[in-house]
Amino acid sequence: MSMENFISLEEYQKMSLLRFTTAGSVDDGKSTLIGRMLYDTKSVFQDQYDAIKATSERRGEEEVNLALLTDGLKAEREQGITIDVAYRYFATPKRKFIIADTPGHIQYTRNMVTGASTANLALILIDARNGIVEQTRRHAFIASLLQIPHLVICVNKMDLVDYKEEAYEKIRSDFQGFAAKLDVNDVEFIPVSALKGDNIVNESENMPWYKGTTLLYHLENVHIGSDHNFIDCRMPVQHVIRPYNDDYHDYRGYAGRLAGGIFKKGDKVMVLPSGFTSTIRKINTFDGEIPEAFPPMSVTMLLEDNIDISRGDMIVRENNVPEVTQDLEVMVCWFNERPLQPRGKYAILHTTQDVRCIIKDIRYKVNINTLHRDEEDKFIKMNDIARVVIRTTKPLFVDPYRKNRNTGSIIFVDEATNETVGAGMII
């Protein structure tokens, strides 16, 4: 790192946060691209670089293998593939970035979904020689299903196709054809070579025909201001704060993270499931009272009236309530070797609720290649995506996932093993 990396506290507080994830088939160059980005932004320390250089030399590789910066597990380094998500960080004076580098191998799709669930943006890599393959489609579909607001298609390994425009254009139009069937609106395309560094941080001299920006420039400037839902007020209660001391004798604070909307002091609110109404007396934090709260803040709310509220309840606005229901239609990504059991019972986690459910019906399985709905094949295996109907033991307070990622998402937990076996998006 060098002096230019110095950022004063004042400037530091102006920076925003962008979370992005990588996606694409095995060996398309995801980890190399992240390594390249870290290296070219001077985010790699000397001892880290020396360590991967030594490893690369020991294995007889010609160049320093930048993928080793993210492939940190022994098994990954041995096999040269990514197995689990690696989180990496870097910052420029404009933004701080949290990167989830995910595996391309189909066996580890669940780890890709993990990395993608919190991302504002997905980089989908495509090997310029091979074009779109099944994993590209699967990951693009998952990215759209997870409602990642921004997609960037990096056509990688341009060095291996002599930096030819035709190769890039072919993939670009193929992808656009496929993306028309997906639910995505912001898609960018960039031709890159992760290995050589073209168009990652520095502009490529090898592709004068490309008039767009570098990947880093795009990441620094993509508009993320409206990625949260600021309309529908939702605060799932996480924990009730009761100090039990003389200074705060009757204090009852409802602690939680805003899942949507803007709450103001004095607002009329309703508490679910009881339906009782009250008024916000105070929005409290350690640093004092604040006039309003919005996502992704963590706050403590105090109400005018003494009503019975506990973890799992939700504070909303009286005139804008989520659906209160025990019957849900859900798109599910299955993660476990043990297939989804029709009529099976699972624990599910939704906001701060922990309930049980039964799988009432499997409507269809999605064929990833064609996006066709297969209503015959209802055998849902690991890495499959399906639409299911569930009934829960208690009502949940839900919004469609499209409207709110926080109140529209659930996870399925196997009650025997406690493993997280599936991810669901409420329709």
């Binding site: 990396n5 530091y12 949260h228 602690a255």
Partner: protein, 300 residues
């Protein structure tokens, strides 16, 4: 943009959320407090998360017996200020009782013993969640860690078989005898920590700031003179102006030459440094995957 919080506040909100989840999902959680800046920031965040109530967790310190005295003093003051319970797992006691056997030689370290004593202490007190101040940017094996990290009955980590962790839905379900490690500040970088310390004006042990100290150099690492380390004949003590980037055991934690005497100076210094903060730690240098190996065995 009006409805926008900056990235430090976003990290803060995320960590507070995680700390509150721990309080809600577990019966008997504990904060692993090492005395270093990361566990200090984590404890500060816990204070914010439950304000105006006290932090609902005790602090656990695994005392290797090789700690910097300044770190212990800081710990005791903090515990008193917060009004929380302190539990000390003592490596020295475990050695005295012959529960564990100490390494010999010049590069002897109590790291492995620390893991054994940690696991023992967690078991004796029946803690079901132990929160640590580890950050994913510290080390390549840590970069793979979940916020809620499941451990089997032996306290082991299975990196190839971690539970998928999606959105903000943390699955803390477990069988009897199993426990979780939780890392509320996973997404913070070293620079975030320092900027936040400056922003929040958090007090730190004096070791982090430049001071004069009697030191010697071993394998390129500046080590402090102490009763816990055997010097080789060709090693000689000199007075140096140093500070520490991380705090570990005295015999293995390297200092850096520095005249950074305020947090602002430190931020300026970090921006120009070329080695990671763990670069000075002999425990990480033992092999390419020493952190992963230690984590599998139950190190935090």
């Amino acid at each position: 943009m009006k409805y926008h919080i900056n990235h430090l506040r976003e990290l803060e909100a995320e960590s507070i959320f995680v700390l509150r989840e721990v309080a809600a999902q577990f019966q008997n959680p504990v904060i692993m407090f090492s005395g270093g800046k990361d566990s200090i920031v984590m404890t500060h965040l816990a204070r914010k998360a439950f304000f105006p109530a006290k932090i609902p967790f005790p602090l656990l310190h695994v005392d290797t017996g090789h700690n910097f005295p300044e770190a212990l003093e800081y710990r005791d003051n903090l515990v008193e200020e917060l009004g929380v319970k302190l539990i000390v797992g003592s490596v020295q006691e475990a050695i005295n009782k012959k529960l564990v056997i100490e390494e010999k030689g010049f590069n002897a370290s109590r790291n492995a013993l620390q893991t054994a004593v940690l696991l023992e202490t967690l078991e004796t007190h029946k803690f079901d969640a132990a929160m640590g101040g580890a950050r994913r940017d510290e080390e390549k094996a840590r970069a793979k860690e979940r916020f809620f990290s499941h451990r089997d009955e032996f306290g082991q980590w299975d990196p190839k078989n971690q539970r998928p962790e999606l959105w903000n839905l943390f699955n803390g379900k477990k069988q009897m005898g199993e426990h979780f490690r939780v890392f509320p500040i996973s997404n913070w970088t070293e620079l975030d920590i320092w900027q936040y310390i400056a922003l929040e004006k958090i007090e730190l042990p004096s070791l982090y700031l430049s001071h004069k100290r009697r030191c010697f150099i071993r394998d390129g690492v500046i080590l402090a003179e102490s009763d816990y380390v055997n010097m080789k004949p060709d090693e000689k003590i000199e007075e140096m102006v140093v500070r520490y980037r991380t705090l570990g055991d005295m015999p293995i934690t390297g200092a850096v030459l520095s005249d950074a005497s305020t947090v602002e100076d430190i931020i300026r210094e970090i921006a120009t440094t070329r080695v990671t903060e763990r670069g000075g730690r002999a425990d990480d240098k033992r092999s390419e995957t020493s952190m992963e190996d230690r984590k599998k065995q139950g190190y935090f």
